[in-house]
Amino acid sequence: MNQEHLLEVRNLTTAFRIRGNLFPAVRGIDLHLDRTETLALVGESGSGKSITALSIMRLIPQPPGEIVSGQVFMKGIDLLSLPEERMRKIRGNQMAMIFQEPMTSLNPVLTVGLQIMEALIYHQDVTAPEAKERAIEIMNQVKIPSASRRFKDYPHQFSGGMRQRVMIAMAMACRPEIILADEPTTALDVTIQAQILYLLAELKREYNMAMIFITHNLGIVASIADRVAVMYGGEIVEVAPVGDLFEKPRHPYTEMLLLVVSRVDGNTEKLSYIPGQVPSIDRMPPGCHYAPRCDLRTDLCDRQDADLIPLPGDPARRVRCWVRGCRREIQDKP
């Protein structure tokens, strides 16, 4: 086992039962996260990025969901094999999650102060007054103005941006080593989004945290990520350091994804488009999941899915593609 990774996911498959049949929502996920690193998980809706994060946290609703196979090692311990009580000690303590919609994740009838204190009291050996003091300190750190007064306010009394700060405060309360942030800025206006991204980067640096950041926004990926995993149809199709990914995408899907986004800096000559649509989990193509929309498709792509394998001479980059991957090294770019 690779001891140097903080988190390592191996061959994770999570399936959902639809009308009696089990369909994988994510399949064969392999990824790792190192200390202080930011890994972006990018994909469109239905690509499985949230399911991956929820599986790591063991928060998949069961039924209808089910983790079918795989391991999630955190510092050498397989989280998926732990009894629930032990997992509960890790969740919110060593590993915490921030969701997209704070209003639905916060309890509307408890003051935000109590909700931040809760994690501290549950996980750490502190008295209520100590927890309160810590909670106010954290609210200050996430820059909620007049924290000691707002401690007693309810979630609905906060704006969207401030609610997301409350969520971040809850997640940070126990100084976790890993933060999983699931589209934490998608519901926010762009100026507020910039504030939250900056805050996360600042806290990450201060506490030496590692972060998995889930987003569909390639602009955010370029701004904050160290490494990127691109997901499509429940699988990781490409993993690369952020610079390489944007400069020289290898998977045809990644390549197209970069050509279909409009750019605020105006470097969009002509927008491309990907024909067709993302397949739903009960109608996944038998071969490569992207094949039906892919320009480079071969017969093999239609029949059989490729593996996610390192590029020759570049082990940091992995690609799941018969044409662009290493198994049959064809021409570099057509």
Partner: protein, 323 residues
């Protein structure tokens, strides 16, 4: 020049009254749209941009009189539409259509698409059954949908296809103006570009003008010819797309641009942060509405709302820095 102008909005104002508080509610005024003026030229895409609550959607809806403006003029082909009565307005709405962000909530879930598309044609007696069918087939083809679409229900389609259906419906009377209210915001990026390209194609084929209401500056930069930036119910800057994006004048426009992430790690920068939050249109600040967040705030900004000033013939701004 003026014959080139399809729509002209002058001094548009819409205030709403809301009740806040419990158990003794007080009436408050929301200044949703205040003194908004702009023009839309033929075959132009005009972008209305701003953050949530800035009034951009209210402007769009006012133009169709889906909300009734309190003051101002809306001149379509030079004629004010606000005095028109109900039936005159109904006729005019053939020329002006609207598309919403979520097509699912604007399509009747219990009606097959064929009926949804044919109904307005029947209501306006636009021809025999066969003629109507021919019109619909043609439009379906134009928006990239197959004829089988007609026998299906809205839930059988993906978000992108539903947006195509909404576009088909908007096109039925061959309108001159389409107000598109965040038409791609709910779509995945790979589908967004499909729909944007469709809008472009239709603009040429149908001689359309668009008012494109959006919050995503990248999409607006790609799609719109001219752009107005709104903040708390007012236009703070407007002008030609290239000028506005390359030489933004208003500190708010600059802040918006600086906060929009660029999909290129080499452009990674200290993301400029605008302090504070968007104030509410209920308690608009004294002076310039933006002054509490403005990095270049001066004394006069706290006292007076800045007058409108055309810096160049195709770029104007409401900011004391340029007076």
């Amino acid at each position: 020049m003026s014959s080139d102008i399809l729509l002209r909005v002058e001094g548009l104002r819409k205030f709403f009254t809301v009740k806040r508080g419990f158990p003794n509610p007080v009436k408050l005024t929301v200044k949703a749209v205040d003194d908004v003026s702009f023009e839309v030229r033929r075959r132009e895409s005009f972008g209305l941009v701003g953050e949530s609550g800035c009034g951009k959607s209210t402007v769009g809806r006012s133009i169709l009189r889906l909300v009734e403006p309190d003051a101002g003029q809306i001149l379509f082909h030079g004629k004010d539409i606000l005095p028109l009565d109900r039936s005159q307005m109904q006729d005019l709405r053939r020329k002006m259509q609207i598309i919403f962000q979520d097509p699912y909530s604007s399509l009747n879930p219990r009606r097959k698409i064929g009926r949804t598309l044919a109904e307005p044609l029947h209501v306006h007696r636009m021809g025999t059954g066969g003629e109507i069918r021919a019109i619909i087939d043609r439009i379906l083809d134009d928006v990239g949908l197959s004829p089988e679409t007609l026998d299906k229900f809205p839930h059988e389609f993906s978000g992108g296809q539903r947006q195509r259906i909404a576009i088909a419906r908007a096109l039925i009377f061959r309108p001159e103006l389409i107000i598109a209210d965040e038409p791609v915001s709910a779509l995945d990026v790979s589908i967004q570009s499909q729909i944007l390209l469709l809008f472009e194609k239709l603009q040429a084929e149908y001689d359309l003008s668009y008012i494109f209401v959006a919050h995503d500056l990248a999409v607006v930069r790609y799609f719109c010819h001219r752009v107005a930036i709104m903040y708390l119910g007012r236009i703070v800057e407007q002008g030609d797309r290239n000028r506005l994006f390359e030489e933004p004048r208003h500190p708010y426009t600059r802040a918006l641009l600086a906060a929009s992430p660029i999909p290129d790690p080499r452009a990674r920068r200290q993301m400029a942060r605008l302090e504070g939050e968007v104030a509410s249109a209920i308690n608009t600040p004294e002076g310039c509405y933006f002054h509490p967040r403005c990095p270049e705030c001066r004394e006069i900004c706290r006292q007076e709302y800045p007058p409108w000033h055309w810096v160049t013939p195709d770029q104007g701004v409401a900011c004391h820095l340029y007076v």
